[in-house]
């Protein structure tokens, strides 16, 4: 059976991929979707709030109506649907950006450590250890708090998450490279006169695709959680830019009066994360059937 056939038989993978794709489409077409719904994520609608109850939306399910498909935000009256779809841009964009950066840095560092000889390996190995030993969440919070407010937050978030989190990819790449370079087919290529650069490109990189891709699929949801967490703590994206984590943070003060405001962003965040985890899990099964270990 070909890999594609195996992939299509994996129900979890297919379902996960479908939801993940849908989320990406939603995020990309956010302006289009809000144009259709006729709302934007930043306009306040005080009229839709019950000021007697402290600003809870008027109407059932957080003020769901023909105009506001998912209701409105408590306290501000901003359209929840618009904020959700724009929030998806931030959540997914930061997570994807951070993952791509992490994989790039990790792949380069790992390859250099694995192929570069004893000194390169010792130096890079130390650096990887250091990155892995850093309390990354603590450092990320400190870092994000001191950066001026006018820097572009989503880009900054992606960079900070990537810079503090490339250790895992690097360690995996290094380990795989060290193991691949002892294979006889690498020796055979070298006997034929191939240099290390050609060996890296033609013999080692193809062997790294599966483990690195599997790992990347796995850290994508983790990065999404980190983004949501940082925004939840108030050091992520700044208002009025919406993000799911930030909405959940606001929701902590409203969840008794307006549970809908927890359920919508929380449910979507969970669904998206679950979709990516399913994709990662399925990819692992398709790409590397021997590896019984999942995650970590």
């Amino acid at each position: 059976m070909t890999r594609a056939a195996v992939a299509f038989r994996d129900r979890g993978l297919v379902a996960g991929a479908a939801i993940a794709t849908l989320m990406v489409v939603v995020a990309v077409s956010a302006p289009l979707l809000t144009a259709i719904s006729g709302q934007d994520p930043t306009t306040f609608h005080d009229g839709l709030l019950d000021s007697a109850r402290g600003g809870v939306p008027v109407g059932a399910f957080g003020g769901v109506s023909g105009e506001h498909w998912l209701g409105v935000e408590p306290g501000t009256g901003r359209d929840l649907f618009a904020r959700i779809v724009y929030g998806a841009r931030v959540s997914l964009g930061v997570a994807v950006g951070a993952t791509v950066l992490q994989v790039l840095i990790g792949l380069l560092a790992g390859l250099a450590a694995g192929l570069g000889g004893r000194w390169a390996d010792a130096a890079l190995g130390r650096l990887i250890d250091l990155v892995l030993a850093v309390p990354s969440l603590v450092l990320a919070i400190s870092l994000l708090a001191i950066v001026p407010a006018d820097w572009p937050r989503p880009v900054l978030l992606a960079v900070v998450i990537a810079v503090l989190g490339w250790g895992g990819t690097a360690r995996i790449t290094r380990g795989e490279t060290l193991s691949l370079r002892t294979r006889d087919y690498v020796a055979a290529a070298r006997v034929s006169g191939a240099g290390w650069f050609r060996v890296a490109r033609r013999e080692i990189l193809p062997g790294l695709t599966a483990p690195v891709l599997t790992y990347a699929a796995l850290i994508l949801p983790t990065n999404m959680i980190v983004e949501a967490g940082l925004s939840f703590l108030g050091v992520g994206v700044r208002p009025p830019t919406p993000s799911w984590g930030q909405m959940l943070s606001t929701a902590t003060t409203w969840f008794r009066a307006d549970p809908m405001y927890v359920v919508v962003p929380g449910g979507l965040l969970f669904l998206t994360l679950l979709a990516f985890v399913l994709v990662a899990n399925g990819l692992r099964r398709v790409l590397d059937p021997r590896q019984s270990e999942f995650l970590r």
Partner: protein, 329 residues
């Protein structure tokens, strides 16, 4: 063994030194001036200069850094008006915000984070290993599937979301529990546990899933190994094979992971503590960060860094203790 310890300690110091250096560099490259914040509105230049001097931020960066390191090792003296305040040996300075010694702030908050981490870890281990064993032995197909589903779910939920849902369910809808408020263990152990129950469950939901997965994989892998076949070929009863042979192999990765995870929970407890309003070191950090309270931020980062380093060493030692093949060199 001695050589190992020396290298380990050396490495740990290197990591901590690197951390402080990075932090110092970052905070002084940052545009916001802590002295301006401390001085408050309507601050005169003279007053600002005094504040700067009192805070020790009027020296060049490297001098400040040297002072800081000196304080850490030998303690240091701070000018305080006409007097001099002595800050004893592991001196992390005084909070810009509250003027309390950072070490005191940390020791005040640490028990909360420790309570959180230990309880959550214990709960995760019991639930995770139990579920992992049950599904690893493949006695019930539905159970295997359930654990599988929980593992994926556990990996896909952020802790603050679980926390939020738990609060919603138990404190608002069912009203079985009051909203958590930390009670020290020494004051009332029962209340301590009751108030920490939800945070523990929130953390354990995620952690236990990971342990269940590891246990299951471990037990299945070990059961497929040759020495298990040997045990069967020599007539050992299945129960003995599972508990004396397979369980041992399956627990290997878990033991080291436990040490690392206790540290990981404490360093990432920020979210849980904020969520449940627990006055631990994470909450201390969030407050300090918003005030550019450098000494506190450095203190928290150093403490968490130290925890990770210690946890790594403990994990290594544990591994060597339970696997006769491993020798520390």
């Amino acid at each position: 063994m001695t050589g190992y310890l020396f290298r380990r300690i050396g490495g740990a110091l290197l990591v901590l030194f690197g951390l402080t250096t990075i932090l110092y560099a970052l905070f002084y490259l940052a545009p916001s001036d802590p002295a301006v914040l401390t001085c408050g509105k309507g601050c005169t230049p003279e007053r600002l200069a005094d504040v700067r001097h009192a805070m020790g931020v009027d020296d060049p960066v490297h001098v400040q850094y040297a002072h800081f390191l000196e304080g850490l090792v030998a303690g240091r003296d701070y000018p305080s008006g006409p007097d001099v305040r002595h800050c004893p040996a592991p001196c992390l300075g005084y909070s810009f915000e509250t003027d309390q010694p950072v070490t005191a702030l940390l020791t005040d908050r640490l028990p909360v984070s420790v309570s959180l981490a230990i309880g959550a870890e214990a709960l995760s281990l019991v639930v995770g290993i139990g579920a992992g064993m049950l599904s690893g032995l493949r006695r019930h197909r539905w159970l295997d599937r359930l654990v599988n589903g929980l593992v994926l779910t556990g990996y896909a939920v952020p802790v603050f979301l679980v926390g939020l849902l738990l609060l919603l369910l138990f404190c608002v809808v069912l009203q079985w529990l009051p909203f958590p408020a930390y009670v020290p263990f020494t004051t009332n152990p029962l209340l301590w546990a009751q108030n920490l129950l939800l945070p523990w469950v929130a953390l354990a939901t995620i952690q236990a899933a990971a342990y269940a997965r590891l246990t299951r994989a471990g037990i299945q892998e070990t059961l497929a190994e040759d020495h298990i076949r040997t045990a069967r070929a020599y007539g050992l009863p299945e129960r003995r094979i599972i508990w004396r042979r397979a369980f041992r192999g399956a627990m290997l990765p878990l033991v080291t992971l436990t040490a690392l995870d206790v540290a990981a929970i404490m360093t990432s407890a920020v979210l849980t503590e904020t969520m449940f309003g627990l006055p631990g070191i994470g909450q201390l950090l969030v407050g300090a960060v918003n005030q550019i309270d450098l000494p506190v931020v450095v203190g928290v980062t150093l403490l968490t860094g130290l925890l990770i380093v210690v946890a790594n060493a403990v994990a290594d030692l544990l591994y060597a203790a339970i696997d006769p093949r491993v020798q520390l060199r």
